[in-house]
């Protein structure tokens, strides 16, 4: 199984193996997380501009994005257990765990009070997940700060 993120050399990496593999950064799953979280952002902004509370579509997109984010962290965690460790392991693990709670919390906070502002709450959550995924990719590449 190919690793989700392009992580640095495995513990017992073969000689001549690249420290990271650019193609793996853009795995379909990571792309899906970014696309769906940005779609949640757009949906949230659209309902807010239309002065409506988030409807079924926005909440479905948010839920789907949350689910795919969970899968992403799960697969990345599996990669870690396989011994593919990025240089800043602790930060990387922190992001993998933290990113999972963002959209469920944003969704719950948005549903608890159904005003147009709840759409912006969803948008903030979607934006955060997209940024955190970008940071995950950087951390996995070893180019993160």
């Amino acid at each position: 199984v190919r690793p989700l993120f392009s992580l640095c050399r495995t513990a017992g990496g073969r000689p001549g193996e690249l420290p990271w593999h650019r193609d793996r950064v853009h795995s379909p799953l990571v792309a899906a997380v970014v696309m769906l979280s940005l779609l949640a952002l757009v949906c949230g902004v659209v309902v807010a501009v239309r002065e409506r509370p988030p409807g079924r579509v926005t909440l479905a997109v948010t839920g789907l994005a949350a689910l795919v984010t969970l899968v992403q962290s799960g697969v990345a965690g599996y990669d870690l257990l396989q011994g593919r460790r990025p240089p800043e392991l602790a930060t990387y693990v922190g992001y993998l765990v933290g990113i999972v709670v963002v959209l469920p919390l944003a969704g719950a906070w948005a549903v608890a009070e159904r005003t147009r502002w709840s759409g912006i709450v969803v948008a903030v959550g979607g934006f955060t997940v997209a940024v955190m995924t970008a940071r995950l990719v950087m951390l996995a590449r070893g180019t993160g700060v």
Binding site: T91, G94, Y95, E113, S118, I120, V121, V124, G125
Partner: protein, 144 residues
């Protein structure tokens, strides 16, 4: 401070309602970011930069307190939120200035380093908006 407590309940609006929900959401993101950052720093290499890492932990506490205080609508919510936002503003200004004047004391970044430049200066703007929002909601219902 709250001589008019019963009247206050009617003359103020909850800070976590309407546009305030967005403010709470952004504060929650920073509470998450600062807490994870501090946790990682304290767990991995605390001795490397104890001052910066303790400040990270302090900022994490401030963000968590501000998030809870702004989200809730209890008697203690408003004074607690005011305190947290004030401390946050003082912190980002002090740490931002110190991190520029004496970078050797801040070898590793905190959320407030460079006035929060690592987070798009949101840490600098957030307490100002928070204090403004507290002031705005501290009067009878107005059209939002």
């Amino acid at each position: 401070v709250f001589e008019g407590a019963p009247a206050r309940a009617r003359s103020t609006r909850p800070t976590g309602s309407g546009p305030g929900r967005v403010l709470v959401a952004v504060y929650a993101v920073f509470a998450l970011a600062a807490t994870s950052r501090a946790g990682v720093q304290l767990a991995t290499d605390f001795s490397e930069a104890p001052l910066a890492y303790l400040l990270s932990a302090f900022s994490a506490v401030v963000y968590v307190v501000a998030t809870v205080a702004l989200a809730t609508d209890r008697r203690w919510s408003r004074p607690l939120a005011f305190t947290a936002c004030s401390v946050e503003l003082a912190g980002v200004l002090a740490i931002g200035t110190l991190s520029l004047l004496r970078p050797e004391d801040f070898p590793r970044a905190t959320v407030w380093s460079g006035y929060g430049s690592g987070y798009g200066f949101v840490p600098l703007v957030l307490p100002v908006i928070g204090l403004w929002w507290l002031r705005r909601t501290n009067r009878p219902e107005t059209a939002v």
